[in-house]
């Protein structure tokens, strides 16, 4: 359709009607100063010159996948495991080592960390971000603490949202399907003078697992404004919030079938970016995030001979984060690029039920520097380090050294070594969860009697990348070995004076284990023509540890394939996901599974209105489980319609 209209235009250049009167051109259109748009921070590093393995999830992959939620997209990354413990507890890890709290992956949305300092995981459903507003997701496979600091241990996920200049106008969308899928989307993007803005309203509802009480409704509002007052400065203001109404607990403790969670997360962020030249720029980022979860359950009666009810009757918790970051990029020499960053953060967390009546808070200061040096065209040397003073982890240095060798066009090798730390979370360091009826302690469930050290990971990796433009082929392979020390987990009961249950604290946190991890993985992208592409990835992992749960926590192998073809009238895509046997730490074994998703879509264009009708069928092979064996994801289908004008 499009090609035909362009061809018609090309054949009849003289009959075109032009709506706007032409302003005359002058020499100033050629010589006046212009903004440096593609400054260093906006240009992504080519993967064959990057210091680490990177997978980029593009918009076309997001759309072809048919996924409705952010964490599902990470199935497309080699070595990643995604599991829905419940409809409101999606959890994501890379190469295993995780319980339902995946604490060793840093996640940043437009530079703002959405890592939960209270529990350590990411509450994926509680990020005020519509899938439709994502521009791309860059996943660093392996440690990235030299750039992103503590908790960027196993992987680091950078989500970039679309500029407010993308898709100007109205977008309206809706999805309806089985498993109570009901989604709505309303977005407006506009511009006026030096300002661009976008406002998105999005609601998502579903009932995720079969025979589980886990219906979930999210309603989110996200807004973004960009102000470009001159050629040098760009100011981006963002604010958003999400309200979640979720059945059951959002933290994994279930005390009643009636337990519910009311979740709120809101944020504001401002970034001021000044471009000094094509080689030099700085930016100032300030943001504040607040999260509150109200989880109530019917009070538990006190055991006989006592009467009344036990406290607490809720698992309410909250946390907030304020961050201020200054970053400067420069190129002091033709062959040398540098980035310097300084950051201060204040984390606060509170949960009277789980960690006592006090609000716990900690500050963190960071200084990082990295350099990329090209002594010759075929060599790139990277050196970077992050120095942090963290409220729990102490003062730590996370360095990385990497070298890329590009001996002939199309082939490149990478060797990298790095160290990363995972700080204890507020819950791990401050937990004090007990059922009481003053003055009695009936049962001490959780306690943190020990001063915890951060977990440490040392990593070495070897990469090989192959690129053949003629065939549209890109291959990225990675071999790695990680050594983890001081892994924090639950330990044996700890005596508690006066506890009536008499068995001490059921669970206490301590630095307990170590693990070695070996593996290899590849991702292959093949695009033989405009109409067809496929992304294939495979991963193999082995873990050795003094804790069997860690040994079993990664599938020996996994495979992902997403393929898409444009048939002309219709476009179709298929996703195939195979994950080997896995046992998430502290849970039961989940057998290997195969999942196939299909998507068919038809695009329309009427005047200036673009529309798309799509049908998505998920898990067409039948029920399967991602966590234990009784939490089944059943086949489902939904229809979605989206219109832009």
């Amino acid at each position: 359709m499009l090609n035909r209209s362009l061809a018609v235009m090309a054949c009849m250049p003289t009959v075109l009607a032009w709506a706007a009167p032409a302003d005359p051109l002058s020499e100033m259109d050629y010589f006046s100063e212009q903004p440096v748009v593609l400054s260093a921070s906006r240009l992504s590093q080519p993967v064959n010159r990057a210091p680490a393995a990177v997978t980029v999830i593009t918009r076309e992959m997001i759309e072809a996948s048919g996924f409705r939620h952010l964490p599902d997209l990470l199935r497309l990354v080699p070595g990643f495991q995604v599991s829905w413990v419940r409809g409101n507890i999606p959890t994501v890890t890379y190469q295993g080592l995780s319980s339902i709290y995946s604490r060793r992956i840093q996640v940043l949305v437009d530079g703002r960390s959405v890592y939960n300092p209270a529990y350590g995981q990411v509450q994926w459903r509680g990020i005020p971000l519509a899938l439709d507003d994502i521009d791309r997701i860059e996943v660093v496979r392996g440690p990235n603490a030299a750039n992103d600091g503590v908790n960027a241990v196993q992987a680091s996920i950078h989500i970039y949202t679309r500029s407010a200049s993308d898709d100007p106008g109205w977008t309206v969308g809706a999805s309806v399907g089985s498993a109570k899928v009901r989604d709505g989307l309303l977005r407006y993007a506009g511009a006026s003078g030096d300002w661009l803005w976008r406002v998105t309203l999005n609601s998502r509802s579903d009932d995720w697992l079969k025979n589980q009480r886990d219906e979930a409704h999210d309603h989110l509002l996200d807004a973004r404004a960009e102000w470009r007052p001159n050629n040098r400065d760009a100011v981006t203001l963002q604010a958003g919030g999400v309200l979640g109404e979720w059945d059951n607990s959002s933290v994994g403790y279930t005390f009643s079938n009636q337990q519910t969670t009311d979740f709120f997360n809101g944020y504001v962020q401002a970034r001021w970016q000044r471009t000094l030249s094509t080689r030099s720029e700085w930016s100032l980022l300030v943001n504040h995030t607040v999260t509150r979860a109200d989880e109530t359950f019917p009070p538990i009666p006190a055991p006989l001979p006592f009467s009344g009810v036990l406290a607490p009757d809720n698992l309410n918790y909250g946390f907030s984060r304020s961050a201020l970051e200054f970053s400067w990029q420069g190129q002091p020499l033709e062959q040398l690029r540098t980035v310097w960053t300084a950051e201060a953060r204040l984390d606060r967390a509170w949960s009277a039920s789980l960690a006592g009546p006090d609000t716990h808070q900690g500050t963190m200061y960071r200084l990082s520097g990295s350099m990329e040096w090209n002594p010759a065209e075929e060599w790139v040397l990277h050196a970077g380090a992050m120095l942090e003073k963290h409220y729990y982890a102490g003062t730590r240095l996370s360095p990385r050294l990497a070298v890329n060798w590009l001996p002939v066009p199309g082939h490149s090798f990478r060797l990298g070594v790095s160290r990363a730390y995972r700080s204890p979370t507020f819950l791990e360091q401050e937990s004090d969860f007990k059922f009481t009826q003053a003055p009695f302690i009936f049962d001490q469930r959780l306690l943190s009697p020990f001063k915890l050290k951060p977990e440490r990971m040392d990593s070495v990796e070897l990469g090989y990348l192959f690129h053949l433009q003629k065939l549209g082929l890109d291959l990225d392979t990675r071999l790695f070995h990680n050594r983890l020390d001081d892994i924090i987990d639950f330990t044996t009961p700890y005596p508690v004076a006066g506890e009536l249950a008499g068995d001490g604290a059921d669970l206490t946190y301590a630095n307990l284990y170590r693990a070695h991890q070996w593996g290899g993985e590849y991702q292959l992208r093949w695009q033989p023509g405009k109409a067809t592409w496929l992304a294939l990835s495979q991963s193999r992992t082995r873990i050795r540890s003094d804790f069997q749960d860690l040994v079993d926590s990664a599938p020996a192998q996994s495979l992902t394939l997403l393929a898409s073809h444009d048939f002309g009238l219709l476009s179709g895509s298929v996703g195939y996901y195979r994950v080997g046997k896995i046992r998430w730490v502290g849970s039961f074994e989940t057998p290997a599974y195969d999942r196939i998703d299909l998507r068919l879509s038809r695009a329309f264009k009427v005047g200036n209105t673009r529309a798309e009708l799509a049908v998505v069928a998920q898990s067409i092979l039948g029920d399967y489980s991602e966590f234990d064996t009784d939490r089944l994801f059943e086949p489902r289908a939904y229809v979605s319609f989206k219109m832009h004008f």
Partner: protein
Amino acid sequence: MIWLLRHHLARLSFVLLACSLLCAGLARAAPVINVLVAEPTGIYQETANSLTQALGREGWKVTVTSPGRNPASGGDLTVAIGTKALEAALAQPGRPVLSLLVPQLTYERLASGQQQVSALYLDQPLTRQLRLLGLALPGMKKAGVPLGPASQGLQAALQNAAKDSGIQVNSAPINKGSDMYAVLIDLAEDSQAFLLLPDPVATQRSTLQNFFLQTYRLKKPVLAYSAPLVQSGALLALYATPAQLGEEAAAWIRESWSKGVFRMGEARYPKRFTIGVNHTVARSLDIALPSEAALTRQLEAMP
């Protein structure tokens, strides 16, 4: 003796007369050039300097003024540098005018139907621009060209250039800045690179920012028309510098002076050019470009 003195005086006066006649003849042979600059600063002054230096070496008389000041009267040729200077020069007809630093479409609008007026355009020929894309990006077959209202007049020329260069062109209109996004998405479907042409709508600051962000996101390189746009984010730019235009105009003026009059001939594109390359963008797009020198040599060798 007195006779001899008279004889010598007579010979001396003859020689003096002959010398003065010759000098007068020579003075008539060197034309007077009035250079009218739109402003006595920046690119205008740079072009004027390069022109006057080249002509000054030949002993030609060149005066430089700007429209606001008292224009020099007389003269054999007015060189108007910049659009305002061209407008001022055309307001005083009857004397040959050579326009410099004015884009083709603007020149044609201002000078249509005028006699004794010619131009060395500011723009580079479209065929050369498309050929540069072909040389820089092997396998290049189609270029997308968003056209703002001011560049509509180039449609036919674009199609001719496509035939001459062997690079096909997909073009689409941008009537307002907010059209850019949809047009780029459409054009990108069938284009390997974008050609950016000057247009006040298409290159307005916020639209230009969106243009470069979007083309980069689409992983399509851009060939632009000026040095500042290489800094902005174009992979390549093809342009003539003010100094190059001044020198080329000087050479043309010298060639056109014959038998006491200027015959400038048809307005034309510059033969000289500069290729600007943004190596950072090339690296990020993973494009291995030939060197600027190699590209220049190959492009110069083309007809």
